[in-house]
Subunit: 250 residues, 3 copies
């Protein structure tokens, strides 16, 4: 795999996003992540998964400059794959711990929301669904995951404001579960994952489905319509102008 | 318009309820509010709306003494218009800021719940859905908006108790977003509205629909049944006795 | 009745679970509770109900050792009755106050969740949905009641962790509404019940239905499937081994 590093230690698998410098999400990243999760779903040894990133970003979100070169149809095709990916993680039959090593923005935040537990580093990293600030909307499924995670009212503040939250603020909102120092991130993530791994696998899977199936059904019900609307807005003149100003530092 | 004052300053429209002394809601108020919002929906200059009132009440709620003179059928017709109004505001395509200048009671609270952001003055003003205290129920749609705003469990406390909350208590519950002094209300409301107005209009509208469409559908699904039940209870002997004791100070 | 004591004082009925020493739930307990609630539903004198227990347990939950002697079919039949019972209490037309006199575990916690208000003693008592710790799942309806009560995200923590919460911790989560000393439990419960009893009965019933009908419908929609899955897991070899280790102290 080109942008993902996958390793397994005892019964904990760790997936590392490694697409320097900001782990921007493109088609290859989505395909490789999908492949990883599908492999881990059937690997009897693996009882829990950690999802993390290299560098000062967990993920910048979608690779805007790259996607500006896409036709609307190709971009729409990609969005279907991306939303399928977070829906799959949201219902993944094993526990998934997000170890947010740095900035967790837009599409990166959507991946984090799909997990079962979120740790985030205490330093400069910010977490945000900032789509509104560059004239973009979000996807129906991502709104459902956000509501599930922090409730409807806070979901509204997060999406209307598009603010960048520190780990502490994000914990207050419920966007993340625990703040840890950068040095301790891997260690704490492994402890959390081991704790999950110690639960009865079938009982865990069943309880997760009881909690999330209803949400996942609602996600599916309108995801496609919201993708078409998302693409319409991306290809509108005013939003396109704003998107062109987005630079990926590297 | 008789009881509503509408003005526009740059791209912010302000709607002021002005039916002395308590801004009690009757058919004319509902019609005029509906007309205002419909006009503002298509006014390209208007990017955000402030809804506020004159005097020490934002609104007392429905004008009980006036409605006691209505036949059950006419009252039911009115309730359909009133619930249509709050549903329309709940899904209004532009941001609506409620600047709660004073007591915000029953039907008045329902209008406030439909907005995107609620400011309330810090002084003596109370906010309440106190229907249970005079033997009345509420509407299905208003329960959905309340759940959306403060969660299911708090919605239950608010409705079972029928308590009068100060602005500070209401903020703790999530019923309002911000407490301001009476002198600063207009200024802060304008800042909040300008901040909303600065967002991309189409992205805002789309995100608002992603957040609220699902709720609005559920509101509609059972609103009519709940109106019939509401009217039945209003016209029951025991509730009618309690309603007759309600006085509007003026 | 064998395991239930029912008394009425003015317009408050009190149901006491009394199956020494831990008020474990078996078929007789479920039938007697169902009979009590059905009788109280139509008793015009009764305006509110208190549900409590004798001893240091409100309830240990299902009587695991007894049910290990059941065939899968008989156990499934019982589960239908048990989930019907909590669904009935959840929609009971009169206010129900849970006065949690001691440990409130698993199935005991589900009964408590169905009530309108939960008081819990401040001493050693714990409350928990600890099914995952012995390889069991829960029921769809119990998940819906839990989400209703504490929100989706906290529901996930409670069920994934299976932790034992003190009354104070449970109050923080929203699992209970008020912590009281053991000596004051009955007195406070009666005050809460009298306060409920003072509300207009029809308005209360209608508001309760507006709040809960939607939840109850969702509970019903998948309850049966979740019972079959629950029984499958109980009769799996690995869970059965864990269940055999559960002892009821007496």
């Amino acid at each position: 795999m080109k942008f993902i590093h996958l390793s397994t230690d005892e019964n904990i698998a760790t997936i590392v996003l490694n697409r320097p410098k900001v782990n921007a999400i493109n088609e290859i990243v989505v395909e490789e992540l999908g492949d990883c999760f599908q492999k881990l779903a059937t690997d009897q040894n693996v009882k829990a998964v950690i999802l993390t990133g290299e560098g000062s970003f967990f993920s910048f979100g979608l690779d805007v400059p790259e996607f500006l070169g896409y036709s609307k149809d190709s971009f729409t095709e990609f969005l279907i794959k991306f939303t399928d990916l977070y829906s799959y993680i949201f219902q993944f039959p094993k526990p998934v711990v997000a170890a947010l090593n740095g900035h967790t923005i837009a599409g990166g935040c959507m991946l984090a929301l799909a997990c079962d537990y979120r740790l985030m580093v205490s330093e400069k990293a910010k977490i945000s669904l900032n789509e509104i600030t560059f004239g973009s909307t979000v996807f129906h499924g991502s709104v459902q995951m956000l509501k599930y995670c922090i409730g409807e009212r806070s979901a509204e503040s997060v999406l209307y404001g598009g603010s960048m939250y520190s780990a502490e603020e994000a914990k207050g909102l419920g966007l993340i579960d625990e703040v840890v120092s950068k040095d301790n991130l891997r260690e704490v993530a492994e402890k959390v994952a081991q704790n999950f791994a110690g639960k009865d696998s079938r009982a865990f899977r069943d309880i997760k489905m009881l909690l999330r199936k209803h949400v996942a059904e609602e996600m599916r019900r309108r995801e496609h319509d919201s993708i078409l609307e998302f693409a319409d807005i991306w290809y509108s003149e005013s939003t396109r102008e704003k998107l062109k100003k987005i630079k990926i530092r590297d």
